[in-house]
């Protein structure tokens, strides 16, 4: 008898995509949005002004990028946190799974809704 096929590929693919994206753009995004622009060093504060960010978020490419970053970062983190729980001996099972992946799904929905509300 064959063992049961796992549904892990779905979550693993999202985890992997998020991990790769975070490795590529994570550090620079944190640096820009959280450090150099707020401080106004090497990046004028106007770079993240309302009009400028709105224009970016209204463009389809900007929308896609923002959705990918927020959603995939969340899926990446959710998958890792779920496995860390197992690693440290918390075999919370279905509950932990729902909480981890459910949060990522919720974040994805909110991000998509916000991006739609922003308009084109």
């Amino acid at each position: 008898m064959n063992p049961k096929r796992s549904n892990a590929p779905i979550f693993w693919a999202l985890f992997g995509a998020g991990g790769a994206l975070a490795a590529l753009v994570g550090p620079i995004l944190v640096l820009i949005t959280g450090i150099i622009t707020p401080v106004g060093l090497w990046m004028p504060r106007a770079a993240l002004s309302y009009e400028r960010v709105l224009t970016g978020a209204q463009h389809w490419a900007g929308k896609l990028f923002l959705l990918a970053v927020v959603s995939l970062f969340l899926w990446h983190a959710a998958h890792r946190i779920f496995h860390v729980l197992h690693d440290v001996g918390i075999h919370a099972g279905t509950g932990a799974k729902l909480l981890c992946y459910g949060s990522a799904l919720l974040g994805t929905v909110i991000a998509a809704a916000a991006l739609l509300a922003i308009g084109f």
Binding site: G19, A23, G26, G34, I35, L48, Y50, L74, D87, A111
Partner: protein, 120 residues
């Protein structure tokens, strides 16, 4: 198995790698809040950006930056374990070579993202 990851420096480094995940999630949530505020209009967005200029926020983002850089480095470190050997001119690229290529990609993308945010 309780506390297994404390028994070997190799496992400690693995656990540090896995524990970058909550930081990735925190950053995604910060951006998600920014998206929602952006959708709510100029006043809401400006309040979000003003919060980012608070010294506590800057301090948190330094922490996030360290975590994201560690995530990036460790992701490229394990990347060669996830793929068939990379052949360059008939020779197998050593694992360190793959890691170096990945870090180079992160660096390149970082420069591109910086340039886009600054000058586009």
């Amino acid at each position: 198995m309780a506390g297994w990851w404390r028994r070997n420096p190799f496992f400690v480094r693995y656990m540090l790698r896995e524990l970058t995940a909550p930081f990735v999630a925190i950053y995604a949530v910060i951006l998600l809040v920014g998206l929602v505020r952006l959708a709510q209009g100029e006043a809401a967005y400006d309040a979000w950006f003003a919060a980012l200029t608070h010294p506590a926020s800057i301090a948190i983002h330094w922490l996030l930056l360290v975590a994201l850089i560690y995530h990036s480095v460790t992701l490229w470190q394990v990347m060669p374990k996830t793929m068939p050997p990379l052949k360059v001119a008939g020779h197998t690229l050593p694992e360190l070579g793959v890691t170096a290529l990945g870090l180079l990609a992160t660096l390149t993308v970082s420069v591109v993202v910086y340039a886009l945010v600054r000058w586009l």
